[in-house]
C-alpha cells in the first residue's frame, strides 16, 4: 500500500473503524514506513488534544425558551382533528350523513310516480281538464264576486264578544 492510500485510512485506523483486511494492510505499511508511523502518532496526539476541551452545559433558561417557541407555534388543525376533538359533532355529522343516504335511497321509489311518465301524465291531465275548467269558470265568475261576504254563525260571534 502507498503512503497516499494511507490518507483515506489513517483516521479509520485510529478510530478502529477499518475492516480487518484493511487494518492488516495499514499495519503492514506502517511496519516499513517511518513517516507514516510518525503521522499516525501525531494524529493520535491531535485527537487527544481535542478531548481536552471542556463540555459546556446549556443555560438554565434553555428549556423554557424552547417551550416558549413551541407554544407560540400556530396550531394546525384539520377538519378531521376537529371532529376527533368534538365527538358529539362527529356523531351528529355521521347521523346526518346516514339520514341523507336513507332519504336518498328509500324516497327514490316514491318519486317514480305515474307523473314521471309523460304519456300517463298527459292522460291524467286530460281526465282532470273538466274539473280545472269548472274551477276557472267559478273563480272568474263576476256575479259571484259581487255577493256580500258570508255571514258568520251566531255561536262564533258570541265567543268573540268580550265577557
Amino acid at each position: 500500500m502507498s503512503c497516499e492510500r494511507m490518507e483515506s485510512r489513517i483516521l479509520g485506523y485510529l478510530d478502529g473503524r477499518l475492516k480487518e483486511s484493511e487494518k492488516l494492510e495499514v499495519e503492514k505499511h506502517l511496519a516499513k514506513c517511518a513517516p507514516c508511523r510518525l503521522r499516525v502518532e501525531e494524529f493520535r496526539a491531535v485527537s487527544g488534544l481535542l478531548e481536552e476541551l471542556p463540555v459546556i452545559e446549556p443555560s438554565p433558561e434553555f428549556d423554557m425558551r424552547v417551550h416558549a417557541l413551541v407554544a407560540a407555534e400556530p396550531v394546525k388543525q384539520s377538519w378531521w382533528v376537529w371532529l376527533h376533538v368534538q365527538p358529539r359533532v362527529a356523531f351528529a355529522a355521521s347521523m346526518l350523513l346516514l339520514a341523507a343516504i336513507w332519504l336518498g335511497h328509500y324516497r327514490q321509489p316514491q318519486t317514480q310516480s305515474p307523473w314521471n311518465d309523460p304519456v300517463v301524465a298527459d292522460e291524467q291531465m286530460m281526465q282532470d281538464l273538466p274539473v280545472l275548467e269548472d274551477h276557472d269558470v267559478l273563480s272568474n265568475f263576476e256575479p259571484l264576486k259581487e255577493l256580500p261576504p258570508p255571514v258568520q254563525n251566531e255561536e262564533a260571534q258570541s265567543q268573540q264578544q268580550p265577557m
Binding site: L38, F62, V70
Partner: protein, 201 residues
C-alpha cells in the same frame, strides 16, 4: 427499555409532547456544544440550538424515519451554523477589517464542567488555559466544513456515512476533508503535538 430517537419522534408526530421533551433532554447538551464550537459564541449557540428544536417540532407532522434521527438533527444544526458563521464573517468584514476580533472564549465565557474546584497551583491553571486556548484557536482556523466534519467526528462520534449525509458529500470526500482538517490541526498545534508524542513514546 429506553425508546429510540425514531420511536420518540414518531410519538411526537402522533401528538405526544412528553416525547419531544425527552428528545430535548437527550440532545440539548450535544447540540449546544456542537454549535458553540462552530460559532464561538455561547448565546448565539443557544439561540441556534433552540431554532433546531423548533424546526424539529415544526416538521413533526411530515416526519418520515428515512434516516437516523441524529443525521437529520445535526444536518439542521450544521446548516444553521454554517449560515450563521458566514453571516457573522460578512458582518465583521462590514464593521471593520482592522479591529481585533475577540471571541467569547477569550473573554472567559466557557464554563468547564470538569475543572476541579481546588487547583494544585496557579501556574498549572495558566498552562491548561493556554493549551485550551491554542486548541480552540486551531479549530477556529479550520474552514467551516472541515470544522463541522471534525466536530461531528470527534465529539458526536457519528459514523462516516452519517457525517457525509449531514455535509452533503460522498464518504470518500468526507475522509479527504477529515484528513486535511487533521493535517491542519497537526501543523497548527505542532508544539503540543510534539509534546504529546514524546509523552506517548
Amino acid at each position: 427499555m429506553a425508546r429510540t430517537d425514531v420511536q420518540l419522534m414518531l410519538d411526537v408526530k402522533a401528538g405526544d409532547e412528553a416525547s419531544f421533551e425527552l428528545l430535548l433532554h437527550r440532545y440539548r447538551t450535544p447540540l449546544v456544544n456542537f454549535l458553540y464550537r462552530m460559532v464561538r459564541n455561547r448565546e448565539q449557540a443557544e439561540d441556534l440550538a433552540q431554532e433546531v428544536f423548533l424546526r424539529v417540532y415544526r416538521a413533526r407532522e411530515d416526519y418520515v424515519p428515512s434516516a437516523k434521527f441524529t443525521t437529520w438533527l445535526f444536518r439542521i444544526a450544521t446548516n444553521l451554523a454554517l449560515n450563521s458563521v458566514r453571516d457573522t464573517r460578512y458582518r465583521k468584514l462590514e464593521i471593520s477589517i482592522d479591529a481585533p476580533i475577540t471571541t467569547d472564549a477569550e473573554d472567559g465565557d466557557e464554563r468547564p464542567l470538569d475543572v476541579p474546584e481546588k487547583r494544585p497551583n496557579i501556574e498549572q491553571h495558566l498552562v491548561e488555559d493556554a493549551r485550551r486556548k491554542m486548541i480552540r484557536h486551531a479549530i477556529d482556523k479550520l474552514p467551516e466544513k472541515q470544522r463541522a466534519a471534525v466536530l461531528l467526528h470527534k465529539y458526536q462520534e457519528l459514523d462516516y456515512a452519517e457525517i457525509a449525509k449531514i455535509l452533503a458529500c460522498s464518504e470518500s470526500a468526507l475522509k479527504s476533508l477529515l484528513f486535511r482538517a487533521y493535517e491542519a490541526l497537526r501543523v497548527e498545534l505542532a508544539p503540543l503535538v510534539a509534546q504529546q508524542v514524546r509523552n506517548q513514546g
